[in-house]
């Protein structure tokens, strides 16, 4: 064991830093020139898809390189890619999709020209995802499925071109059997998207109603009835991506800077023991979580599976994200209250309230914390 980076790692770190220096757009350009940023990443040897394997154009990072890459990108708050295509669907297509599906969909996923959403949860299938009821019936001639049902909490369905969707093709046997993985175009006349306004007034999730949607069998990924197995592998990917550790590291620094701006007595909020200790506890836990992620990466590199341990990252990572939003909320004080078009008080106050409210979802989506604990208890500790 050696905590020090090797010469090669240090050189890689320098390379990433130089790349960011030279290519990251600043200020408003961060939004207008996103496309160029991702192009530059792609030209660097697949840095736009750091987790993809080499055969699909990924960079084939060592675990230490992945760690360094995420660290440096996180430090500079580089623009993230929407996770649904690159992070979630792509690995499934690589593992279970047909040659034709990979050719059709991976390029659009990679260059960001096609937006995807995830059609998993249903009103009766949240934590108990396998309980889903959306029916897909194969036509008599075997050419297409007719899909009927309702999805809920579908993030960004309103801007998605396609949805990857879990549907029920059989009610025989265990709930996990008889689930089929379909790719559904959102412009089908049978697809209706209704917005859900969430805590804090924002619109990112939706209800998606599917009425007699005709899905050609070519859009089925893998075998009929095996969708659950495919999705389960993907959930592990989703979880490890949701920990958001580097963004929490940055977020905590920002929260400290915000607290320094708030005067209390003769000093500022960071001088207050009751606040300072919360910051300190979070910092210590983040140091540990960051290295836990590193250990997970190392295990994957030596041929292991991120598997159930990724639940630790999701569980702890989202809890830490939420506690950071609490610090900002506390720093905003009563200026957390103004909620009109115009902002008042410290410049971070309005965002602090939004993040606190919206952030409550992080311990619910992608497998609620209570479910993550069950996963760890059962699959890691062997407690059934």
């Amino acid at each position: 064991m050696d905590i020090a980076f090797s010469e090669e790692d240090l050189a890689f770190q320098q390379r990433v830093r130089t790349f960011i220096d030279q290519n990251l757009p600043t200020g408003m350009a961060l939004w207008t020139k996103r496309g160029e940023w991702f192009k530059a990443l792609a030209n660097e040897g697949g840095w736009d898809v750091p987790k993809w394997p080499k055969e699909f154009g990924g960079p084939d990072f060592t675990p230490t390189q992945r760690y360094i890459f995420d660290l440096e990108m996180g430090k500079q708050s580089t623009p993230p890619q929407l996770p649904f295509g690159v992070g979630m669907l792509a690995p499934i297509l690589m593992n279970y999709g047909s040659e034709d599906q990979r050719d059709r969909f991976l390029p659009g996923i990679r260059d960001g020209s096609v937006n995807w959403c995830q059609g998993y949860s249903e009103p009766g299938a949240g934590s108990d995802l396998a309980n889903l009821k959306t029916r897909a019936e194969l036509s008599d001639d075997g050419s297409h499925y007719l899909v009927n049902g309702q999805k809920i909490w579908t993030t960004l369905a309103h801007i998605a071109h396609w949805m990857f969707c879990l549907t029920r093709t059989s009610s025989e046997g265990a709930k996990q059997e008889g689930i089929t993985f379909l790719l559904i175009p959102m412009d089908d006349p049978g697809v209706e998207v209704r917005p859900i306004i969430t805590l804090g007034g924002s619109h990112s999730v939706n209800e998606v109603y599917l009425t007699d949607v005709k899905v050609p069998v070519e859009n089925r990924v893998g075998e009929e009835g095996k969708g659950w197995t495919y999705a389960k592998g993907l959930l592990a990917h989703e979880r490890s991506g949701l920990a958001g550790i580097q963004s929490s590291v940055m977020g905590l620094e920002k929260a400290k800077a915000n607290a320094r701006k708030v005067k209390v007595g003769q000093g500022n909020l960071l001088d207050l023991a009751s606040f300072k200790h919360k910051v300190g506890i979070l910092e210590a836990e983040l140091l540990a979580l960051e290295f836990t992620e590193m250990r997970t990466l190392a295990r994957v590199a030596s041929g292991g599976d991120p598997g159930p341990e990724s639940s630790i990252l999701k569980l702890k990572g989202t809890e830490i994200q939420q506690r950071i939003t609490e610090l900002n909320l506390e720093a905003a004080g009563i200026f957390a209250a103004p909620w009109g078009a115009e902002a008042f008080g410290p410049d971070f106050a309005h965002g602090a309230t939004q993040s606190y409210l919206g952030g409550r979802a992080t311990t619910i989506y992608g497998g609620a914390s209570e479910v993550q604990k069950d996963v760890i208890a059962k699959n890691v500790l062997g407690l059934s």
Binding site: N131, I152, W153, I197, V262, G345, R360, I364
Partner: protein
């Protein structure tokens, strides 16, 4: 010691709970919060006719002469309904300051109007520089002949738009953080030189930023002794803390109970959620947090009522504990409702937001823990 409510107190609780259940479902509240006024004037008149607005006001001024325990019952019940009418501002802060420090003339002029529903008020005591510290005052009041002239800016003044009168803290001497040198003034809202920027707040209420530019008021506008406003403010804030703590206790009760109801009927893995031990324990913890907050709320209220020496310490402990427990209860109500807890369509979200702002009012849990531990 007697912890039972009197007959009158039971009737008060019953009448508010009747009003809340018949008039204050979530849709009605949303409509009121989104209306131009932000609340219902008709409700306000109802409150007056039911005697709620007269509750804490002395009998000599048209009131009922209730004590802090009565006010606690009022606010706990209002908290269950998330009532948006400006009762805290008018009754506890504005009316409270008048009761504590007003002259006979000042009380005669304003308290009967509060009791009969014709006068509303607000307390403009915070400034942007140090929004948790009501002793940090830069707004100035300078005596010029028969008048005081006020200049400065007040922040997040709840219910200022509906107030006929404001009580404004301003510095008559000393430096920005000096305890001595703060004075309070009763200022009619339409006094020339006052400009307001009104806005909605995240918890469905209304507040304003207020600029004071050469606002001239007569010497008779001074509330209490000159330079000694800090101690009056402290007493008023203490009452405010008791009121919002009681409100939070009411809101927490609704949250833990509705979360029990939801988890009993929501099934996952072929069982109601409430069958799972982790959910049972969480609900139990919510219930315990609610109870601790309620206990300390009762104790601090009765101590302050009697004016005992350790009342102040209990008020600090209370505001800390209410912040802590309402965060736990609120967050877990959302968590156990899953995705549904995140939607604005469920009442959960609105109780959650109100509890969030109650923690921020009058100094949050951090500030009061510091004061409590000294």
């Amino acid at each position: 010691m007697d912890l039972a409510y009197t007959t009158e107190q039971n009737m008060l609780e019953e009448s508010i709970s009747k009003f809340v259940s018949s008039e204050y479902d979530l849709d009605s509240r949303k409509q009121l919060a989104n209306s131009e006024l932000g609340y219902s004037d008709e409700h306000w008149q109802t409150f007056a006719s039911l005697g709620w607005l007269a509750l804490p006001i002395e009998e000599a001024y048209g009131g009922i002469g209730g004590d802090l325990v009565d006010t606690m019952i009022l606010f706990e019940s209002l908290g269950k309904g998330l009532v948006v009418e400006p009762i805290l501002s008018t009754l506890v802060l504005f009316g409270g300051a008048l009761s504590i420090a007003g002259t006979e003339d000042q009380k005669q002029a304003l308290l009967p109007g509060i009791a009969d529903g014709s006068v509303k008020g607000a307390l403009a005591y915070l400034e942007a520089e140090a929004p948790s510290d009501f002793n940090a005052v830069t707004t100035s009041a300078v005596r010029e002949g028969d008048a005081y002239v006020l200049n400065g800016h007040k922040s997040v003044v709840f219910n200022a738009a509906s107030a006929d009168h404001l009580i404004v803290s301003a510095r008559t001497e000393g430096d920005v953080r000096d305890l001595a040198g703060i004075s309070l003034f009763i200022v009619p809202s339409d006094t020339p030189g006052i400009t307001r920027k009104d806005y909605p707040t995240v918890d469905g209420l209304r507040a304003s930023e207020i600029a004071l530019e050469s606002v001239s008021v007569p010497l008779s506008a001074l509330l209490g002794q000159p330079h000694e406003g800090a101690s009056i403010l402290n007493q008023v804030i203490n009452r405010g803390i008791l009121a919002v703590s009681a409100e939070a206790v009411g809101a927490m009760e609704v949250l833990y109970k509705s979360t029990i109801d939801y988890t009993k009927q929501r099934e996952q893995f072929d069982h109601p959620l409430a069958d799972f031990q982790v959910v049972k324990h969480r609900l139990t913890e919510m219930f315990i947090e609610y109870n601790l907050a309620k206990s300390l709320c009762m104790k601090a209220t009765m101590l302050l009522n009697q004016g005992t020496a350790d009342a102040q310490r209990h008020v600090h402990a209370l505001k800390f504990l209410v912040g802590k427990s309402s965060r736990f209860v609120g967050q877990n109500a959302v968590q156990l409702h899953g995705g549904m807890g995140m939607t604005e369509d469920l009442a959960i979200a609105h109780y959650f937001k109100r509890l969030m702002i109650i923690d921020a009012l009058f100094g949050n849990a951090n500030i009061h823990l510091e004061a409590f531990t000294g």
